[in-house]
Symmetry: D4
Subunit: 253 residues, 8 copies
């Protein structure tokens, strides 16, 4: 349930097509649905502006499908991240309108009416191998109705590739930078622009990258003060916050 | 040099009070001044919207004072963080209009004309011991002309203290949460609001806090997707990004 | 051998149905049975109040089955944790009364006479993915004749889910909280109640969760002083201690 | 404010010595007092059974003294941990009835009426150097009206010292074990008794003890399932939980 | 080539059955054989008293077999550790007198004449799961002609099991203790005896055992000063040093 | 595009066989080719003296093959590292002149005219298991037209093996040392020679080698000041830098 | 009390100069003396062959002096390690026969009759800065009546220094090697000799030595199988075990 | 003793001004001088091309002065690093020609005849706080007769500062880059040039820089393959290797 469906409900009360008692019942159900292994937080959209999202890793395909179906039933857009192919098959079989994005390992269901995208996010990746994380971020932001510019493979060892896309950076309301190895790209990007940069360390690399810890530490120690950091490989979280910033920024008249 | 002083310069050229050659000379000086031990990036304000800031730790009082004085001469607001008392004395002696904030260990110089604050940041601290970091964030944001609401000592072990200030949270464009020990507060706050939350792990704690590493890891693993993280004790960096978000958000309609 | 079977033995001596020599022989056997690869500590029940438990991981199905069978022969309840399906099949084939709990990966054998449960434990999990660990705790506590209330998926990012079950928390003698990611739930729960809280970090999460280390550190640094911690994913250990506390607490009045 | 003072208040209302309005005012003040740098949680005693405690480290002597004085004014017992000598001097000057325990670095104020201690805790230390932490635990437990048996310097390298005090272990409702270096003592104790053991790793040791991390890891991996762990050097937290267990256990019969 | 075969060679020179030139040639070959991917150190036996040993992990079955065969050809006893089944099959096919010990993952070839064992090593394991490492130690020591007493599953949580075998400990010249989890056993054993104790941390455990790091740190911090430590799971190394000590010790009287 | 093909292009302009406009077009294409998932940096050869190299790990066989083919089309030598067999098959099918080196997991394509090798690199490995990394270094250096002397299995536990090849060390312009376990070899080699030593920690070892971290730390702490270090298992990077040094050194006289 | 004083006591009983009751009383006192903050283990000498030793760090000068005095009173040799100058002054004032070794930070008291040293230990240090740890080992071994050969500053970066003292190595029954930085020396020494090598990592070094962790890991991963390891900077522990080995070895015919 | 003084010695033999016996004596002294606490490796210059250097940290002023004086007596240039002011005073008092460089914490003594510098090193620092390490490198390189270009405060957050000095980079034979925080500068520099880059992580930074570990990991994971790394804050080691490379490179005719 999101703001729109809430207003619809209240309007229905006003117009008499639903009794206050029935409306009250629906509102009372709102906080969450307890389906045994999970408590679905339908309320979240109202509270935080964006719907709860299913983290499919560690859940069985059956569990993910059940939660996905319940959420779909409430009429909101739905997103499941870290979904493998068997999970995706089961979800799409249950909800044919759902779409699987294999590179991003995400399943999306668009149920809200399409409107003009609000806000603009540039998503950079340092190398080809960082692409799955960058795609997770892109798919998330697009489902949440934000314009995305993808700028992939612009790592710091070939600086001219980054300088070439500088103009595209300055148009964005917020920038997401996905990088593994030494994680240097966010610092360089942060020094070039005047908008927030959200850094996503990726687990790309070998040896002393320690599964992304090197990139994570590098980003946390960025000398550019407009850089904040999310968890390793957490493209979804970066996009979620970026959408909040982009929406607020875009509303400038 | 910031946008305003740049436009002034160009206007002076137009009006003939300064020759194009002299203006050109000043612009050529802009990118940075090389004073031997440092290259001052006056250009930064133009490029990123906020002035470069002096990180005083690891610099001698003389070095900090020299950089501070050069920056002051360019007419912008100036901020030095991590400044101890001897450094502050020397800076204030050189620039009497500068103010030392001992709790925040920051020196500020306000030279821009006072205007209505743009945007609103709520700054929370989990405990009394986290206050210095929270104050560093507050002083930074206020110098950058943003409204700050301080909500200190609202840690999760006494949840009613946090729930009591919930209304004040929802008014902010962005929230900074400073917490040491287990670093749980950002996740709880993140679940209550629909704006970005910037988490600042502090080095408060003992034993297995490992100088803030426990709080840092906790925040990076937050189950609230609107949480991003900065370095341990980095109140300044959190405020810098928060100001960028608050400004953009505040310009709504 | 537990206290009851010991008293039975001594009564048999008193009544003359067993000779002192034979009784002595049985008592001499008590400390442990040496079966080559293991020394079974039948004595433990007498010494610590609860039977020794088989940690099946790293043992072959044959080894686990042999130890399980020997323990079963002594008449006590038996528990094997971390048992995979092949091990469970072999054990159940040997001891048909044994039950396999696949979600908890535990095998139980109830041989003691059913009595009214003693004491009451609430077991919380932060997310659906923490359920296997929470179930291991629940199965353990139930075998040891304690009442269990399961409260799953009540993580801190949706605080109202936790506040809704607050009444159920206050009825318990002790609370077990299983959480991965940032491990914040025990601190919040600890602040709401006046009973001991046993925190179980789980290896749920990705990136900088470092296989549960982030949750572990968070819990160790809890600002709620009624929180103690066990090893990552150690649902069994948490339940074992919780049973000891619940039994003692329940004997009030 | 604790349960006793609450009942007193309500009795005063009943007897008419205080008006409902005034009582209501006092109750409304209860949750916490906001004194700027801290929000004192007077409510805690009611909610969790034991008063909030002041963690003096990282607070100025003035801050600690102010919080201590406010708490004292509400009539409860008060405890400040990690207090250095200057802080203690200032607190005792303000509240002459307060007592400083230098070995434990704790300040206590007993205001409740003395009653028979409830419950019994044995506190063990592995070596002489672990004593400050063990004393912090002992002082805490005694202020909270629990009987304490101190058994110091009973480390595992001289096992007969531990076996000699075995009888004293079996009389306790709960056992606290403080140990640095390899942290082996809790496992050995845990195997000898049938009550909960709370392990406190200490930062005693050198080299690869890594400031207590070795002992912490050892205790978390204890093969005795009745062992739970608190933070390094956290004698207070261990005692707090032990008091909860001892009280509940002591009420038997 | 070992001391015996060297003396034989020199005797042959003395007796004229081999020319000095031919002997010199054989001695010149001694330091090592370069077979491309490896330089076999036949010399080692002469230099250090025990033959070089093949570490089969990370080598192909073909490589291990080739090195094994070359070593066998020089007449010494041969040992390969960390050998999987396919490697063992290939080696035994090439050298039918070689024996595979699957539990210890070791291949041995006894070529020296059997003599009375020299010295006595007790090998303890804390739990059943530590057995493979303990067996690697035992097989190594036995090949090197030392008497071995196996004392398995005597962990500290059931102290009476250890105290029962105390007599067997005091007969040994040196003791090897294999333990995972908290690694407490070596400290306890070290306090009971007056001979060197070699501690082998094993990777047995879960969660915060961090693949044996917890046991390793515990053992390094042992409060018993007669404990030294080898690498995690390094049963071979422990036995190698133990054999050196046992041989020297056994030559008493 | 490398210097030679650039000069050819410019000569063609001079001689009129290509118009300045066409040449300009080719030069404009130089910086990189954007093929969607990657931006190929043909420019690199000109800028840094050696061509960009494909890091195949984390790329699909299709992606690697496409990038390899594009690079091959520009006429330079091409190298792909960390290529598994399926990737190699697909690349060699597309570019039959490419060669797969399975031990080094590298694919090479030699397109430049063969000339006398420039400079001389000695590559040492401590053990047989370090060979794959040493081979990656050797294949890289040979493709880049440098003479390589392989000295494998010369670890410090049999010092005479190293001392025997000492003469071969002193002939090299630079030395690469690959070692796992304790990583001691570079320090010893560094003390014997007067040329730069590049240390490559390998992930060979078990237990507390922590996947090469022990060797890495050892090498970083080398007491020989002519030792620098690259990432764990990074044979390619070591060779790349070594080639730069060897080329410069070789041009003496 | 050691074996000699025990036999004296028993002889006194036999000869009637002490009554059995009085002897029994003295024997009953033996296990330990409880002096409040410490339980002195006089029994240890009898049980393990060497007296208990005082670890002075973390103890007050008064505590160390009291324990030292009690031990001295029992007639054995006494050793205190990690003693600073104020502690030494107080001990020597109380027991004038005690000697302070400032470089080793050790206090020794020789009370046993001087006899011919038993066994021979070579103690090596890699650099001048490792000397304090090496001296702690040497002082310990000498007090325990073992011959010590000091070979300092023979680090691997100047291999000829080590090779020059090779003969002195081969005469020892056991070798202690103290090294910081990369900790390579034990592996090299281990490869040269046929006796046990006890490696002592020291906290000498900077940066990535991480206070000795680099040396520790290096030594644990030694490719020489006759190397065992003790804690960082634990010269005492190394010497204690070395004395046990040297004594046993020296008793050869 | 270096090559020049050796040739002088041999010439003196040839010319008869020194007898072969005396020369032999001097050569026999060469390998090292044993002065008790140190073995001075005069031989090193001959073996590796550069003199041994004194690491003053952890040595007493007396020890450093003694070693410095002995080295000075052999006629070579002498360098002591990590020397504090008291040590410097004592050394300069003993050897008045020695010079103390307080920023670099180094003492130098130039005794060789001044010649044209051989080779050219560019030394970059990311920020003002990295300067001491950069200066240690510069002083070292200059003593070893290499030309140094200092380029300080050119961190990646203000990329134009780096791009401005690009020409100066391309003139150097080798580049040293000192950077703390995220350690991104070497990767960016490495991508711009075709010479070896030696990266020096510095301990500058706070929080999650973990005393330089973040920068170290970043540099080890550099995506520029011409980057090798030395220990944290090891400006000396970087310069030592850089001098070897610069010399070899400079000899290009």
């Amino acid at each position: 349930m999101n703001k729109a469906t809430l207003l619809e409900l209240l309007a229905a009360v006003q117009s008499g097509t639903i009794t206050p008692a029935a409306a009250s019942q629906r509102l009372a159900d709102m906080p969450y649905e307890d389906i045994g292994h999970a408590r679905i937080d339908h309320h979240r959209s109202l509270r935080t502006g964006l719907p709860e999202v299913i983290y499919a890793q560690g859940k069985s395909p059956e569990q993910t499908t059940e939660i996905f179906t319940r959420m779909a039933a409430s009429g909101t857009d739905v997103l499941a991240t870290r979904a493998d192919a068997p999970t995706a098959s089961m979800v799409v079989a249950a909800i044919p309108a759902a779409i699987y994005h294999p590179k991003a390992r995400a399943i999306t269901l668009k149920q809200s009416t399409a409107t003009e995208p609000t806000g603009h996010i540039a998503i950079l990746s340092a190398g080809t191998s960082d692409q799955p994380i960058a795609e997770e971020a892109a798919v998330t932001a697009e489902l949440f109705n934000t314009k995305v510019t993808r700028l992939f493979d612009v790592g710091v060892a070939g600086l001219h590739r980054l300088l070439d896309v500088r103009d595209q950076l300055t148009n964005a309301n917020v920038i997401i930078v996905c990088a593994g190895m030494e994680g240097a790209l966010p610092s360089v990007v942060g020094g070039l622009v005047g908008v927030p940069v959200i850094a996503v360390p990726t687990s790309v690399g070998y040896g002393a990258s320690f599964d992304g810890a090197a990139a994570l530490l590098g980003m946390l120690n960025s000398c550019s003060p407009n850089v904040t950091v999310v968890n390793i490989d957490n493209g979804f979280g970066a996009a979620y916050t970026a959408v909040l910033i982009a929406r607020a920024s875009a509303r400038r008249s």
